[in-house]
């Protein structure tokens, strides 16, 4: 039976009069990757801070692995790994020194820093000072640091933000490896492609409220529409685009008419992206 790794109930937090997180509730199962999506200022970071014990909820509670975060933050923090969006490594220390420091603080015995360095693709650079690393290398080291205690729950805040495709793909692979190990992953991201590929479920947060929470497939079925996009040669010889919305009664007739009346050059099916669905639900984009 699947256990609940993260349970949030009526979490609420306000900065003065600004209600950053407004009475949100959700569960994340053990071994699940949950995508937490929303534009800047939606309340993602405040939620993560409450879940990781950095902020005490003003209302509601969060339980990680059955432990109340607000009353036993250190017990929770010993079992989680957090990768921040902003680089907060010790720049004057080497990559290996950074990892060893945190492993010691977590009380990890027989920690193999070079192996972890190799695993995140920094082989040969572990002894270099972090200040000499590129942005992608620093991000990989941040991810590695989140792994040092083999956490049961991983919080990853925009782990691939601003990275080149190779680095981003390497990090996505690492996330899937951690899930395979049994870790639960709470992934905060703007990247719809990433969320779609990695997450079993995604939660949309907007203005402090969770406005949708489901599997990407269910969300697309519920909110999105599939279309056929065709390029045809018009009567005047020009190339034109035709769109036919699928899953309607009229659809078969419209497709037949298309092939009978016009010369079809290309034909593609398209489905709504998570971004489209977010816009449809909230009326605004994710990167606003």
């Amino acid at each position: 039976m699947t256990q609940t790794a993260i349970a949030a109930e009526n979490l609420t937090y306000a900065y003065g009069k600004l209600l950053a997180v407004d009475d949100i509730s959700f569960d994340v199962a053990e071994g699940e990757i949950l995508g937490f999506l929303g534009p800047n200022g939606a309340g993602k970071s405040t939620t993560v801070k409450m879940l990781t014990g950095q902020l005490r909820p003003q209302w509601g509670y969060a339980r990680l692995l059955g432990i109340d975060v607000a009353s036993q933050p250190k017990k929770v923090q010993a079992q989680i790994g957090v990768c921040f969006e902003i680089n907060n490594l010790y720049e004057t220390m080497s990559g290996i020194e950074n990892l060893v420091l945190f492993a010691k603080l977590f009380g990890v015995k027989d920690f193999d820093a070079p192996a972890l360095i190799k695993r995140v693709g920094l082989d040969g650079r572990g002894e270099d000072k972090v200040e000499r690393y590129s942005k992608g290398m620093k991000q990989r080291l941040m991810v590695a640091r989140a792994f040092v205690n083999q956490p049961k729950i991983l919080f990853l805040d925009e782990p691939t933000e601003g990275l080149d495709p190779t680095s981003a793909q390497a990090i996505r692979t690492l996330i899937l490896e951690e899930q395979a190990r049994g870790a639960t992953v709470f992934l905060t991201t703007h990247d719809m492609y990433e969320a779609d590929r990695l997450c079993r479920r995604v939660a949309f947060i907007d203005q402090g409220k969770i406005v949708a929470l489901d599997t990407p497939r269910e969300l697309k079925q519920q909110y999105g529409q599939r279309i056929i996009r065709a390029e045809v040669v018009a009567a005047d010889g020009s190339l034109q685009t035709r769109e036919i919305v699928l899953d309607r009664q009229e659809t078969p007739g419209e497709i037949a008419a298309l092939f009978e009346g016009e010369r079809v050059v290309t034909l593609h099916t398209e489905e709504a992206t998570l971004e489209d669905i977010f816009i449809q639900i909230t009326g605004r984009g994710l990167v606003s």
């Binding site: 902020l55 902003i86 907060n88 010790y90 010691k104």
Partner: protein, 352 residues
């Protein structure tokens, strides 16, 4: 609080600390200032000639010696102690008086006075002490000097030499820069670079972080204080007492530094704050420099209780009992700051 984690954080601070500008500044500036002043004035500390006495018979010689302000007099229990003290420079000249010294001198019988001279002492100190010893012996023998010396002091008789006036300032700089600035800047930098947030999401508590950073300040501050005293040959018989006083001063400074680190958000604000409160921190030293200012005013400032015992012991040969009152005030200040820090840590824990 786990000592193991404090040790890990302390080790990181000690290894990485010397790479920071403020760490270097805190170590180099007081040393450079000490060396510069030492070059100009010779030494910062009182150069009253120091006389050591082993007196087995309650001689008038000892009474006469201790009655004068011109010398610093230390009594020793045995000739071995006196020899050791002279060899390490605690006294410039050491005198051993036999039990029947006064009786023999009074009746004109031959007797022996063993005198040890510290090899590195200056000729002026030896000469002054030799002349005084001769006078005291003549007094015991009942001989009046054939010459009456009429002395007139010219210039301002109460003015302290500048090397003595500068002493508290240099010692305070060593103790305060190391003790206060190193923990404060380290905490503020970690806040600015958000490494403190990374530490906060580990089993490490903020209390452990504060203790580790404070300990670095305590270690550097105490060491700097001892080095400055040693450079000025002020470590003598009171070395252990001075180390203890400096340690208390360092703890007080480090607590203040950690508190500043908690309250201040960025390094620019830290420097601005230090500029503003610098005058208050160094006020006792500045007051000591200018004798026109009533000296009691210095007692208003907390740092007075940190520096005055050092001056009393190193300059005037004071013992623990002489400075106990000041140390009790210093301990009370340490307890108050410790309480404020504990409250701050608790507040942060409740917010987090």
């Amino acid at each position: 609080m786990k000592l193991r984690r404090v040790g890990i954080l302390l080790f990181r601070e000690l290894v990485q600390g010397p790479k920071s500008f403020i760490f270097i500044f805190a170590v180099v500036v007081p040393l450079a200032l000490t060396l510069a002043v030492t070059l100009i004035f010779g030494t910062l500390f009182s150069e009253k000639p120091r006389l050591g006495i082993v007196d087995a018979g309650s001689s008038q010689f000892t009474e006469s010696a201790t009655a004068t302000d011109a010398f610093t007099v230390h009594a020793y229990a045995s000739e071995t102690d006196l020899r050791d003290a002279t060899a390490r420079g605690s006294v410039h000249i050491g005198v051993v008086l036999p039990p029947d010294f006064d009786a023999r001198v009074a009746v004109g019988e031959a007797t022996t006075m063993v005198v040890y001279v510290w090899g590195e002492s200056q000729l002026r100190d030896r000469a002054a002490l030799a002349a005084a010893i001769s006078g005291w012996v003549r007094h015991i023998a009942g001989q009046e000097s054939p010459v009456r010396i009429v002395t007139s002091v010219l210039g301002d008789p109460v003015v302290l030499p500048w090397e003595e006036r500068l002493l508290p300032f240099v010692v305070m700089m060593g103790v305060i820069l190391g003790g206060m600035m190193i923990p404060a800047s380290s905490l503020v930098t970690e806040k600015q670079e958000q490494t403190l947030t990374a530490l906060a999401i580990t089993p490490v508590t903020m209390g452990e972080v504060f203790v580790a950073k404070g300990l670095v300040g305590v270690i550097i501050s105490t060491l700097m204080g001892m080095i400055i005293l040693a450079l000025n040959r002020a470590l003598g018989d009171g070395t252990v007492l001075l180390a203890g006083i400096l340690l208390l001063g360092a703890i007080f400074s480090a607590e203040a530094g950690v508190l500043m680190g908690i309250l201040i958000k960025d390094i620019n604000a830290l420097f601005a704050t230090v500029k503003v409160i610098g005058l208050l921190l160094y006020a006792p030293a500045l007051i000591y420099m200018f004798l026109e200012i009533p000296q009691w005013i210095a007692r208003i400032f907390p740092t007075y209780y940190m520096i005055q015992p050092v001056i009393e012991v190193s300059q005037h040969g004071a013992q623990l009992s002489d400075v106990m009152g000041q140390l009790i005030v210093l301990l009370a200040l340490i307890a108050v700051l410790g309480g404020v820090l504990a409250l701050s840590e608790r507040r942060q824990r409740n917010a987090g």
